[in-house]
Amino acid sequence: MHMTNKSKWLGFIFVVPFLVSFLVFWLIPLLYGIWISLHDFRLSVGNNGFIGLKNYVDILTPDTIYNRTFMTSLKNTLMFIVLSVPPLILISLGLALLIEHLPKKLKTFFRTVFFLSYSISVTAVSAIYLWLFGANGGYINNILMKAGLISSPINWTGDQPYAWLVIVIATIWWTIGFNMLLFVNALDEVDGTLYEAADLDGASAWNKFRFITLPEIRNISIFVMITTVIASFNLYGQSLLITRGGPEQSTSSLIMGINTTVFGNNQLGVGSAMALLMGVIMMLITGIQYWISYKSDKDELAKPSRKERKRLKRAVNAGPTNVNQHPAATIDKKERKIT
């Protein structure tokens, strides 16, 4: 179809807001960040000249303050990812499944209730958890001591592994609503006839979850996993306000390390280099997640598992009885005999 000059320009003008936003808020900051990371750039006095990859070398050279800051905080952040991502996915999925099985009226209510904590600021969340998990006279310690479960108070925010536990619990409570909502929407999209067919075939709840729900929400699960890992990489407020990065800097996150380097040490160049390295690591991890998901998807399509091969074989032997599927695959021998 031939487009007139007018319609071309009209189309261009519609794209301009996106282009401007893309340039101003993404491409220019990224390129500027790369440029800064190649300079001796101080927050106070500005640019002291081009230094090539020196900032990166300083960060990666053992025994420098920047190396210690970066490596310690990277290790801590990875630890947080390992500890927080599984519960953030599993609990949110569990909540979504529970909500999915509630009556419609209650469903809306509980969906709102669980999502509500997501709208609270990290400062308020941290204040609540500091009060709950205070080492000296904190609410949880008081309850545990009164119940006789502990004889002396636990230093929740000052000893490991408790400090991580508090941060992970606070993070789950704070952010679980977002993942849960994504799962609830994904579950809403699952075709109800699949469950009906499975019910007719006498499938157990677990089998329905394993063979219908999980495959149907697979794409959203991968999305949730990737965004949760990225969100966990950005740990800042909780560890800053609940543990101040302690005990002994063991919960100091990458963002905290970059913040200290830029605003504490004044080293905008080094901080930018750290941020870019962090970006590269995040991209690598996300890439690996994509690759594993893609690979397992491909493998699944290409090679059915032994169990599935057996089911398919049985289905072929029994012959088709339904236009949508091979129900014989789920009908046992006894039923076939009756038929």
């Binding site: 101003v24 420098t64 000296n136 008081n142 230093n155 990065g245 005990p247 002994e248 200290t260």
Partner: protein
């Protein structure tokens, strides 16, 4: 004009408009007054008192308006924002001067009718860098002792008295202690106190040298206070010295009779203890009496060039350093460095209870070492070393020395970034 040109002009205009929106504005408000953007970190109980002063100035003015921002991370905001006036701690003043973020405050003081003679010696020292006043002295806030008169009738003056108090309290209730040492938080004051009261100078060639045997011995005394003498509970956590003072032993929490903390907690402790609150000078925990802490100064951003803004700053300083106005700051618990205001405080010690008490201990005030990036040089000590001192019963001097070496190495590298 063809469509191509119109499109290009429209998109360029939109880009310019959006970028222009990011640039800083001018110094005039809608009312036509010249605005002075003032940022400070007074987010605690003292914040309302500074706001009262600022509001007083604004209502007295037709020409100028001070726009105040009170931010917890006000240094970060100042470095990345566009402010004219900033409150800077004594320990950071040299860094800000070396980083060319602030300018000589002398001319502003002169226009405001202020001279060095108007301030006490500790105040002048707090604002001076390379023989020039880069910060107008606002206050000194030493480590302040509050005590619960229900548990101790008089302010302990040395460690022996604190130790004896601890033994008495422990015999009554195992949750009662003499005082508390925090794991993190105000630990800089405790580190500088250990140096000052033992006559140790931590500054060496522009960095902090913690690897001095005498200093390690002094720090091990803090360890003994927790694990040998039981004068302080262990593992009190962030701001634990204050938190433990506010707790109740009857509810199963560890409670202290005395706290050595920041004066900014004055409103909170006064609210809790009312007439049972006692205020004392910092006790001698080590060899000699010495008071440590920090000071607030008011600095002018290096970027200030506008003559009207400069006049406004001088006018604000003139208003602020009028005793009746600065007395509001003393009411918050801070001890002003301005002599005329101190005279006013002395006349009414009941109204300015804490400021009146604290000014008595300024004779023994020892300022923290002047090094580039003092707070960053102290970071490892604050975040790691004090936690170890108050949480590891088996910590030895050798193990501590190893940590002090790490802290010194980091401090030296930070000093070298200058």
């Amino acid at each position: 004009m063809n469509m191509k040109k119109i499109g290009a002009a429209a998109s360029t205009g939109l880009l310019v408009f959006s970028l222009a929106a990011c640039s800083g504005g001018d110094s005039s408000s809608d009312s036509g007054k010249t605005q002075i953007k003032f940022i400070n970190g007074f987010t605690g109980g003292d914040g309302a008192f500074m706001t009262k002063i600022v509001d007083g100035f604004n209502s007295s003015q037709d020409e100028f308006e001070v726009v105040q921002s009170q931010e917890k991370d006000h240094y970060t905001k100042f470095k990345s924002g566009n402010y004219d006036l900033v409150v800077i701690h004594e320990t950071s003043l040299e860094t800000y001067q070396k980083d060319q973020l602030i300018q000589d405050a002398g001319p502003y003081m002169e226009t405001a009718g202020l001279a060095e003679d108007d301030f006490n010696a500790a105040g002048i020292q707090s604002g001076t860098v390379e023989d020039k006043l880069f910060g107008v002295p606002l206050d000194i806030h030493p480590l302040t002792m509050f005590y619960n008169e229900e548990l101790v009738s008089e302010a302990p003056t040395d460690y022996e008295q604190l130790k004896a108090l601890g033994e008495t309290l422990q015999s009554e209730n195992e949750n009662l202690y003499a005082f508390g040492l925090p794991s993190t938080g105000l630990t800089t004051f405790y580190f500088t106190a250990a140096a000052a009261q033992n006559g140790i100078d931590l500054a060496k060639d522009g960095y902090l040298d913690f690897t001095q045997s005498d200093y390690a011995d002094a720090l091990m005394q803090y360890h003994d206070m927790v694990f040998k003498d039981n004068t302080s509970p262990e593992k009190l956590g962030l701001d634990g010295e204050f938190q433990a003072f506010m707790k109740s032993a009857d509810e199963g929490a560890k409670q202290t009779a005395v706290t050595m903390t920041g004066p900014w907690y004055y409103q909170a402790v006064k609210e809790k203890y009312a007439d049972n609150l006692g205020i004392g000078a910092m006790p001698t925990l080590f060899e000699t009496a010495a008071t440590t802490g920090n000071a607030h100064t008011i600095s002018v951003a290096a970027s200030v060039e506008d003559e009207e803004v400069k006049d406004g700053i001088s006018e604000f300083l003139k208003y602020l350093y009028t005793p009746e106005n600065l007395a509001n700051w003393a009411e918050s618990g801070q001890t002003p460095s301005h002599l005329a205001t101190l005279d006013l405080i002395t006349e009414d010690p009941e109204k300015y209870e804490l400021a009146a008490k604290n000014q008595e201990q300024l004779d023994t005030y020892v300022a923290a070492p002047r090094v580039y990036q003092f707070d960053e040089q102290m970071r490892y000590m604050n975040e790691v070393v004090f936690t170890k001192l108050t949480s590891e019963p088996n910590l030895t001097k050798d193990a501590l020395m190893s940590e002090l070496e790490k802290a010194t190495k980091a401090a030296k590298q930070i000093a070298d970034t200058q």
